[in-house]
């Protein structure tokens, strides 16, 4: 009895058959999604590339100064300038476009679902293992079905990024709303607030700092998917890293890699700065 008995449940096969079924029968739906996604990504990318490089740097310096400090703003500007000197500007804009779209979609899906989780315990207990799976399932595993549904390129990358980056904002939205002080909820209720008024005027604003922490984490996780996304054909910095890997080009690899790091630092500090600002606007941490 040393080896495990030969019992087989064809779970893998079932999942594969299901994916096949979806790809076959919902082709129209996925084609429709593809058109919307790819055109939005393209538009965002083109918009970013239309901006003169110096203007974008100035905008980042300004935003950085406002939300962090002038030192931060200038550092971010220098980072972007360095990326330009690596001759990776257009790739950076592509990566940025993919991240922006992924994050925006993650928030559009994640925040409402997080709210639902906070209000409905059954839904929350169903969602929690799913979120665990989304975060721990090796990314490559769900890249496989994604390329079943969509042609290679930026779109499957965005889908994979959303799957990976969605959980933090959902979890933290739920946590933020659940953790609103009981007495604050009671006081809103004692004034005769409706459910909607309670949510919009009290619960969401009270949970906002926590939700912003979720937004920050979601953004960072989206960025970490840049290289993985390029495995399903996404352009941008990740593609450069893969390219360097294939050619064992240390110089290009480092430049593309450090560009991702720069981008990560800029986005992280700015989103964290926005969260801090929201917090400090009401005096102290509450």
């Amino acid at each position: 009895m040393k080896s495990f008995p030969d019992i087989q449940f064809p779970i893998g096969d079932t999942v594969a058959a299901f994916i096949d079924f979806l790809a076959l029968n919902f082709k129209g739906f996925f084609d429709f999604l593809f058109v919307i996604f790819s055109s939005t990504i393209k538009a965002t990318e083109q918009g970013l590339l239309m901006l003169p490089w110096w203007l974008l740097i100035l905008i980042v310096v300004a935003i950085g100064t406002y939300f962090t400090s002038w030192k931060g703003g200038i550092t971010f500007g220098v980072f972007l300038f360095l990326i330009g000197t690596f001759d990776l500007w257009s790739q950076t804009m592509t990566t940025l476009a993919v991240i922006i779209i992924s994050v925006v979609l993650s928030l559009l899906i994640g925040i409402p679902l997080g709210i639902l989780m906070a209000f409905n315990r059954t839904f929350a207990s169903i969602m929690r293992p799913i979120l665990d799976a989304m975060q721990t399932m090796p990314t490559f595993v769900y890249l496989i079905p994604v390329i079943f549904f969509f042609p290679l390129g930026n779109v499957p990358a965005v889908i994979a990024t959303i799957i990976y980056a969605l959980p933090p904002v959902m979890r933290l939205t739920e946590l933020g709303i659940r953790n609103v002080d009981e007495e604050v909820i009671e006081s809103a209720e004692s004034f005769g607030s409706s459910r909607m008024q309670m949510l919009m005027k009290v619960q969401l604003p009270q949970a906002l700092p926590t939700i912003m922490a979720g937004v920050n984490q979601t953004t960072m996780m989206a960025l970490s998917m840049a290289v993985v996304g390029s495995m399903v054909g996404a352009d941008g910095l990740g593609e450069r890293v893969l390219h360097a890997l294939n050619r064992i080009d240390m110089s290009l690899g480092f430049e593309a890699g450090i560009s991702i790091v720069f981008l990560a630092i800029i986005i992280d500090r700015i989103t964290a700065g926005i969260a801090d600002k929201m917090q400090s606007r009401r005096g102290e941490a509450s």
Binding site: D181, E183, V184, E186, S187, A188, E189, S190, F191, G192, S193, S194, Q197, K201, V202, P205, Q206, L208, R281, R282, G283, E284, S286
Partner: protein, 399 residues
């Protein structure tokens, strides 16, 4: 006095199947037994009371006595498991969602122990919340909210955030916020217990002042006996979810319903609760002007006293005579009026004992309790004042 709120056999039980527990309580099982056997917590059991319009009603009890659970029944933050609550004759436990929202928006407001302020809103935005919920225009609610802020002395702070204010100021915001809707009923859940003692005293006085002006029906929760007796027109004492006694502070102090309550009131400062009318004795030995001096001397001799208060026919106080003067006057055939001394210390019936103490110490004579028309209501001897300060044991009283 009209009844504003009527609680009829209100119970609140927490747990998955609260209705099933009601019969168990009726069988007389204790809170602990029920918790052990069924994992249900009895918050309030069979509370009945009438609260009058404009009354300052205090619910007092230690932590876990169910007082906070009970006060949340008045605005249905806790829905009673059994019983009904009539407000102005309407049973609020039967209200629809819309009726309940209406009731909360217009008739009742609550002040919380830890203030319950919205930290993401400015002071002004906090105060106008109730009006905003009701859909008033921005100008209108700003105006009303500013007035309320002025009322509680917080003008100039309207653009600050709650965290920037001290505890006392935050609770003023809480009170202003509760008053903006101009509710008939104000619920206050230990509003001052998170404040330091000096601020607390100040806030208590302000609240008394406020109540004098506004005449709201206030339901006030506290665990502090002194606070309860200082503020309350009537006090309900709760223990383990049950209402043990309801009465005026004096009634509870003088006739505690059971040992628990008498132990509760043991360290109360009686001089701040009891008033002249509670300690005075009936004025038996009063000489009326028409009685004449002979009668007066006889009264003094029989009672072994050396002076006697004199009143007119309408029991209005005229003054007093001493026995020496009276004997001289009889010998010299003088009238009562000629020996009448008028410097008598009078007090009103609602003077607190703490204010009587210096008066009885200064005056050689007993104090006379009179009404507004100077009619004699009673007499206070030094011994009355002193004995009133000693709490009688409940046991001693029942034996």
């Amino acid at each position: 006095m009209t009844v504003k709120i009527q609680l009829q056999h209100v119970s609140k039980i927490f747990g998955p199947r609260p209705q099933k527990i009601v019969p168990l309580i009726e069988q007389g099982k204790s809170k602990e037994e029920i918790l052990k056997e069924t994992k249900h917590t009895v918050g309030v059991y069979d509370a009945s009371m009438d609260i009058y319009d404009g009354e300052f009603f205090v619910i007092m009890g230690l932590s876990g006595s169910g007082k906070s659970t009970l006060i949340r029944c008045f605005n249905m933050l806790n829905v009673p498991t059994a019983g009904s609550i009539l407000v102005d004759g309407e049973d609020i436990t039967k209200y629809s969602k819309q009726q309940l929202r209406d009731y909360r928006q217009k008739k009742i407001a609550m002040v919380f122990q830890h203030f319950g302020l919205f930290s993401h809103r400015t002071i002004l935005e906090n105060v106008e919340y109730g009006l905003e919920i009701r859909g008033l225009s921005k100008e209108e609610r700003r105006k009303i909210a500013m007035e309320q802020l002025e009322n509680v002395g917080l003008k100039g702070y309207e653009d600050q955030y709650p965290d920037q204010l001290s505890g006392g100021m935050q609770q003023r915001v809480g009170i202003a916020r509760a008053l903006t809707n101009n509710p008939d009923i104000l619920l206050m859940d230990e509003p001052f217990s998170a404040l330091d003692p000096l601020i607390r005293r100040e806030m208590q006085l302000e609240l008394i002042d406020l109540q004098d002006r506004l005449q709201k029906t206030i339901i006030f929760i506290t665990h502090d006996v002194n606070e309860a007796f200082k503020l309350g027109d009537r006090v309900a004492v709760m223990k383990d979810g049950r209402v043990e006694q309801i009465g005026t502070p004096e009634e509870i102090l003088e006739q505690p319903a059971n040992e628990y309550i008498s132990s509760f009131t043991h360290d109360i400062d009686r001089s701040k609760v009891l008033q002249a009318e509670h300690v005075m004795s009936r004025p038996h030995n009063i000489l009326t002007l028409k009685d004449g001096l002979q009668v007066g001397v006889k009264m003094m001799r029989e009672n072994g006293i050396s002076s006697l208060f004199v009143a007119d026919r309408g029991r209005k106080l005229e003054g007093y005579i001493t026995i020496d003067d009276a004997i001289d006057a009889i010998r010299e055939k003088k009238s009562i009026e000629s020996i009448l001394r008028r410097e008598v210390t009078t007090v009103s019936p609602d003077t607190y004992i703490q204010d009587l103490i210096p008066l009885v110490l200064q005056s050689g004579l007993p104090l006379v309790v009179t009404d507004e028309e100077n009619r004699i209501l009673g007499i206070i001897l030094r011994v009355h004042v002193l004995s009133s300060l000693i709490a009688e044991d409940f046991d001693a009283e029942t034996v």
